[in-house]
């Protein structure tokens, strides 16, 4: 893969992201022409269109781009660190961990501001990812696709049970929970995007710092150590990045699965195995896919199909396809 081709793909993807952003602002239950969108952003007059654009569509789009960046990059990091093509923050129970901690904070401790419970989201994501990594690696030979996916399923199941136990305690908690749990970027104002932005930027920076180490790590831990890499430090950096990215998205949007699974495979097809390119491409493609899915849900089903659901329904076939590829389903 030559540098020029990478750069031209990068430019093409950026244009695509811009197009999807425009579509996300313009399309919906009431389509708004682009000219009117521009007017609403530059010279707001307080009309109904202005309100729709400024307080609904734009925040939604911004949050979608941020969440897509985060989940795409987190998926690429997870697949790199576990050397596992089936890794995804949702499938491996990391989002469920964050979800459990957030639910605990909201229902039991009565925390209601995003700033309050985002920390719980981080803690939950951190604990769950460490547990899954350790479980997948028990026995010495390192984690394989099957063991990690199963460890993730087991941890998710446990956390799901615990979440139900907490939520079912009060009726109001359940009402909020069943809407929050589907994963959506709708109905959040600017403040939400603003609050998670610093954490996402930190996570993306950590991810960027982490990428050269991941290239070495891809050769296996022993080779990486022999090449002078401090493996543990690279791993810790990776887990921190994944935690920040996943935890903040879950706190803001609810659990969104499968995006992190699909995106790195698409990115790898363009960039090849070099993580210094793979991670940024995955972030970009993540944002495009998430927004496209959101717009699709809005246009086709009048916004009754939340983006988290749509991504799971579209992403699961990709997962099954990957599983059916040769040599993956072995312990």
């Amino acid at each position: 893969m030559t540098g020029t081709k990478r750069l031209s793909s990068l430019a093409a993807l950026s244009v695509l992201l811009l197009v999807v952003c425009l579509a996300s602002v313009a399309l919906g239950a009431r389509p708004i022409p682009l000219g009117a969108v521009w007017e609403a952003i530059v010279h707001p007059l307080g009309t109904e269109t202005d309100i729709i654009v400024r307080s609904l569509r734009v925040p939604r789009t911004v949050l979608g781009v941020l969440a897509g960046f985060a989940l795409g990059a987190a998926g690429a990091l997870m697949q790199g660190h576990t050397r596992n093509p089936l890794a995804d923050p949702g499938l491996l129970g990391v989002t469920q961990g964050a979800a459990f901690a957030v639910v605990l904070a909201v229902v039991v401790l009565g925390v209601h501001s995003l700033y309050g419970f985002i920390w719980f989201g981080f803690a939950g994501a951190l604990v769950a990812s460490v547990v899954v990594f350790v479980l997948g690696a028990v026995g010495g030979r390192g984690a394989t696709p099957v063991t990690l996916a199963l460890a993730g399923a087991a941890v998710s199941a446990l956390l799901g049970g615990l979440i139900s136990a907490v939520v079912l305690g009060d009726e109001r908690g359940m009402e909020t929970y069943r809407f929050w749990h589907v994963g959506s970027i709708a109905g959040r104002d600017y403040a939400v995007a603003g609050q998670i932005a610093p954490f996402l930027v930190a996570g993306l920076l950590l991810a960027a710092v982490n990428t050269p180490g991941m290239n070495t790590l891809a050769l296996g831990e022993d080779v990486a150590t022999a090449l002078g890499q401090r493996v543990l430090r690279t791993r810790i950096l990776g887990v921190c990045a994944i935690t920040l990215l996943t935890g903040s998205v879950v706190a803001a949007c609810g659990p969104i699965a499968f995006l992190g699974l699909v995106v790195p495979h698409l990115a790898r097809a363009i960039t090849g195995p070099d993580y210094r390119w793979l991670v940024p491409f995955a972030a970009l493609i993540g944002a495009i896919l998430l927004l496209a899915a959101d717009v699709l849900g809005r246009v086709l089903t009048e916004d009754s199909f939340e983006v988290g659901i749509l991504l799971a329904v579209l992403g699961a076939p990709v997962f099954v396809f990957l599983v059916r590829r040769k040599g993956l389903a072995h312990v």
Binding site: L86, L91, L135, V138, G139, G140, R141, P145, V146, T147, A149, L150, A151, A153, A154, V155, A157, L158, G160, G161, L162, S164, A165, L168, G169, E171, M174, E175, R178, F179, H181, V182, A257, F258, S304, F305, E306, G308, I309, A312, V313, G315, A316, P317, F319, V320, V323, R324, L328, A329, H330, V331
Partner: protein
């Protein structure tokens, strides 16, 4: 080793005393636990009185309480547990993998999606409107579970069945079913949140007579058929080539068993929602108690019923506000993790 054989006309069974003994002891325990469970409630009834009433005696007041109010819950628990135990034993035998169970393989969530779709999209709001109302939801659950079973078999078949591929494909199917259930719960006006939760965690508390009938009817059809068809299970455990050598039409036999197991799990889910891990744990417990090569089918049924009613009783004693599915999930998941760590160790040794 000399075995006792029971034969009747063209069919014959080997009688294994230990297998039969486990099933009988479990059945006796089941009757006791069920009696305790029936006796509990706002007015307490002693175990002996419950048993007496069930056998036809008792005061009219006790009869009224037990037959009108309390029996559906325990009866559904028994039926659901038996179906899950049998389904789990079949799945684990077919996949030759102790991790295979309808919860992990996506059957439970397929059935859940079918049942919730019937409720939400069919405008069925919890009031029972005649036979159609009572049959519609279990039937939709059955169809959802069967669809998941067909998908599972079709997608994991690749020149034969590999246990781990089946489990991974199942995780994918689970994710779709699970998300469909959540989506349906947000679009539909399932206005009563507590009712909605039944489809997220299994619950026996709100079961009434109107849903017991269809469940028992479905099981009365499915269980005998399954037990008759299960005669190929013993041969399938040796692997495809040996099974073919023994004269079993492998794909047909396995496909039939898989669909029957999916149907059983689906009926259970449609009756009480996803009560997870009963189907996972029961066959392995039965296997250890009977010391057979494969999970015993009848033993798994009785133990499954015992486990479900026992869990229901435990949750009523310890955490009265929660549904039984919460307890089985919290107890079962660590067991799944343990099982998975152990099979990995064994695979390496």
């Amino acid at each position: 080793m000399k075995r006792k054989v029971f034969s009747a006309g063209p069919v014959a069974w080997v009688i294994r005393p230990r297998v039969a003994g486990v099933a009988i002891i479990a059945a006796v325990l089941l009757v006791l636990v069920a009696a305790v469970n029936i006796g509990r409630g706002s007015s307490h009834i002693g175990v002996l009185d419950v048993l007496e009433t069930l056998l036809g005696g008792g005061t009219p007041r006790e009869q009224g309480i037990i037959f009108d109010l309390r029996l559906p819950r325990t009866l559904t628990g028994i039926a659901v547990g038996a179906a899950l135990g049998l389904a789990g034993a079949l799945f684990q035998s077919i996949a030759r993998n102790p991790l295979a169970s309808p919860d992990v393989l996506g059957i439970t969530w397929g059935a859940g999606a079918g049942a919730v779709a019937a409720i939400v999209l069919g405008g069925y709001r919890g009031q029972v409107s005649g036979l159609v109302g009572a049959l519609g939801v279990p039937l939709a659950g059955l169809l959802g579970g069967l669809a998941a079973g067909v998908l599972l078999y079709g997608l994991s078949w690749r020149r034969g069945i590999d246990g781990y591929r089946m489990v991974l494909v199942g995780i994918g199917i689970s994710a779709v079913g699970y998300n469909i259930v959540y989506w349906l719960l947000t679009v539909g006006d399932v206005d009563d949140a507590a009712r909605a939760t039944t489809w997220i965690v299994g619950n026996l508390a709100d079961v009434g007579w109107e849903s017991v009938g269809p469940t028992l009817l479905a099981l009365a059809l499915l269980v005998p058929v399954t037990l008759i068809c299960s005669r190929t299970v013993g041969g399938l455990q040796f692997g495809d080539d040996t099974a073919r050598g023994l004269g079993i039409r492998v794909d047909a036999a396995r496909g039939t068993l898989l669909l029957l197991a999916a149907a059983l799990a689906a009926v259970a889910t449609a009756a009480a929602g996803p009560i997870t891990f009963v189907a996972l744990a029961t066959p392995q417990i039965a296997l250890r108690l009977t010391r057979t090569a494969q999970p015993p089918l009848v033993g798994s049924m009785v133990l499954g019923a015992l486990l479900t009613v026992g869990a229901d009783l435990a949750v009523r004693l310890l955490l009265p506000t929660l549904p039984v599915g919460v307890l089985t999930a919290i107890l079962g998941a660590p067991y799944l993790i343990f099982l998975f760590v152990r099979t990995r160790r064994e695979a390496r040794a």
